[in-house]
Amino acid sequence: MRDGRQAEVSVRRVGNAWEVTVEGNIHRVEMLPIHAGMSALFRPDGRNYAVASQRLARNHWRVSLAQRHFEVRLHDPLERAVSGSAAAHAGPHEVCAPIPGRVVSVAVAEGDAVRAGQPLLVLEAMKMENQISAEGPGKVERVLVVPGETVDGGQVLVVVQ
């Protein structure tokens, strides 16, 4: 997917099938589980795809299909926005790891007030240190990692309210 693309998507269950509307175009598809983290997508035209999925956070999934990778965030049970593989675009409330790495240090504690751009923690990957900062002002609701911990790319690190 084109990096950072945003698409308005809505989903409706119709029996075993799903009716998915992507920017106005309606797709009627079926989805069947194969194995843990694996499903098959069936389109009416006979095209099938094996789909690998990983839940990165409460409302955040990584989906891989035909060697392409996507990240999805859930905004409300009936309305979703699908965003491209720019994992760095964190949701309004969650600060996620841009790449996998090791947490070197955490600069804030739960309850702290933070301003936009304020350093939250430092992440190290293959010898490079990356500073993770708050995107906007707010209050640190939760800190989900501790120094020394290894995190996956896209994993939620801090929740800012």
Binding site: W18, R47, W61, L65, A125, G153
Partner: protein
């Protein structure tokens, strides 16, 4: 015989297989972050050799020798990288009463110095790229350039793999290039000495596989072309080279054997050459180890280089005669790295959440990871090698395209997308390769622009699939408050279990 494999990842798995097929037991070693990696579980025995940092584990010579002793191993295979070309370690292995599976330590030492290796080549009449000895300073480098003409390459004496190497296209550029080469040489190889070389433009990287034993047998097993490099790192190799016919193969082979013969080479090794567009070739260096790309030679010549290396070390005579070694078909190798080609090849460590390997006719995967593997932050990013063989190069390219549609790695980014893109590049499919081609292609435009040129229907399908999964999982999310969280919690548990049972359609 029990053989310790002083390495990790795909090459360690490769060597465990070679040992097992020869009826030898294998001993794997692992650092703390590698404990559940395939190379550990594949080995008959495994020993911890220290914490994550390589210098405290895979480069820790004494610990590795101790591991061999404690497990009763009688021989050590170093693989490639780490201690493979460390003459000191080879000597320590032999001094410890163990068999070193590789060339004689003094040969490793001699050929380990680029300048000494060039002397050897010159001494047997093998052409080398015009070059200097170690130079005292930038001024001396400018003097050399005045002699052979720009551009020139400034290289650290102990360098390799693109490290400690800088181009100067004019007097003005020499100062900095010299300094950089020296500092990198010091940093990576503890040797700040620098020498200069005439730069051959748009050359192909051609290397010749050699095999020798202690009974006087020495053969070459044809060439490999490794011209596709990113910043002097090989990413794709093939055998044979489209630029090498039988006559040139014979001349390259003779040159390689002349160099190897005069230093008393035995075991497996690789003699690297630059092939100029003019057709003349120049000796570069000798890699005194099993090469990453050895499988493409195995596929085309029907030999098992890893096994032959072990058998030679145990005293067997080489079962090959030069006359019997004929190439059949064409083989390609893609190096699968934990790097993200869509983000400037940024390192991509982490957990491999999902992994599917291609298979079927003419496909071989050498993999050091499995589903669930954690790719550590601490080592070379190579995950696996995809090797395909077919009757000829066009068929091999079509097979590679097929195999790439089957190869799926999710959870971390890899270089797999790069190879899918290369298959649409005319210079690549036509075999018009040179060592600068890939960097040129990558500089033309961001890789993702090419990637985005992919099937748009696929993109829609992906969005649809993602939405369905999100919606489906959402049905099992707590919605309001504790009481319902409990209820949802039990639902979620049931889902988790039915997934573990992997039920299919009813």
């Amino acid at each position: 015989m029990r053989i310790l494999i002083a390495n990790r990842g795909e090459i360690a798995v490769r060597l465990v297989r070679a040992c097992r097929e020869l009826g030898h037991e294998s001993v794997g070693v692992y650092s703390d972050v590698d404990r559940t990696q395939p190379h550990v579980l594949a080995a008959d025995l495994a020993v911890r050799i220290g914490p994550a940092p390589a210098r405290e584990s895979y480069l820790n010579q004494d610990t590795i020798i101790a591991a061999a002793r404690s497990t009763g191993a009688g021989a050590v295979h170093p693989g490639y990288g780490f201690l493979a070309e460390n003459a000191g370690f080879a000597k320590l292995v032999e001094a410890s009463g163990l068999i070193w599976i590789g060339p004689p330590p003094d040969v490793i030492e001699l050929l380990g110095s680029k300048t000494a290796a060039r002397e050897v080549a010159r001494s047997v009449g093998v052409p080398v790229v015009p070059g200097s000895d170690a130079l005292p300073d930038a001024a001396a480098a400018r003097a050399f350039a005045a002699e052979v003409g720009y551009p020139v390459l400034l290289k650290a004496v102990g360098g390799g793999g693109g490290k400690g190497m800088r181009i100067a296209r004019s007097d003005a550029e020499v100062e900095e290039a010299f300094a950089r080469a020296a500092s990198e040489g010091k940093a990576f190889f503890a040797d700040a000495r620098v020498y200069a070389e005439k730069l051959i433009e748009r050359p192909r990287h051609i290397e010749v596989q050699i095999l020798g034993d202690r009974h006087g047998n020495l053969v070459h097993v044809g060439e490999r072309e490794c011209s596709l490099q990113r910043r002097h790192q090989k990413v794709f190799e093939e055998c044979p080279s489209v630029a090498v016919d039988a006559a040139l193969r014979a001349r390259l082979g003779a040159a390689a054997l002349a160099v190897a013969g005069t230093v008393g080479y035995r075991s497996a090794g690789t003699v690297e050459f630059l092939l100029a567009p003019s057709g003349e070739f120049f000796f570069l260096e000798v890699n005194t180890r099993l090469q990453v790309e050895h499988p493409i030679t195995e596929a085309v010549y029907g030999v098992d280089l890893a096994q032959l290396m072990i058998r030679e070390a145990l005293g067997e005579a080489l079962p090959l005669r030069q006359g019997d070694l004929a190439p059949r078909g064409h083989a390609l190798e893609c190096r699968v790295y934990a790097e993200d080609p869509l983000r400037g090849f940024a390192p991509s460590p982490g957990t491999i959440h999902h992994l599917e390997r291609p298979d079927g006719p003419g496909v071989r995967v050498e993999s050091g990871v499995r589903e669930g593997s954690v790719v550590p932050l601490d080592y070379d990013p190579i995950l696996a090698k995809l090797v395909v063989w077919a009757e000829d190069r066009p068929a091999a390219l079509r097979r590679l395209r097929r195999a790439l549609t089957e190869y799926r790695i999710a959870g971390i980014a890899t270089t797999l997308p790069l190879f899918r893109l290369l298959l649409d590049v005319p210079e690549f499919t036509a075999g018009e390769l040179h060592t600068g081609l890939l960097d040129e292609l990558l500089s033309r435009g961001p890789v993702q622009s090419l990637e985005a040129a992919g099937d748009p229907a696929l993109e829609e399908a992906a969005i649809v699939a993602a939405a369905c999964l999100a919606a489906e999982e959402a049905e099992h999310l707590p919605r309001d408050g504790f009481e319902s969280a409990e209820r949802e919690g039990r639902e979620w548990r049931l889902v988790g279990r039915s997934q573990l049972h992997g039920r299919g359609p009813r």
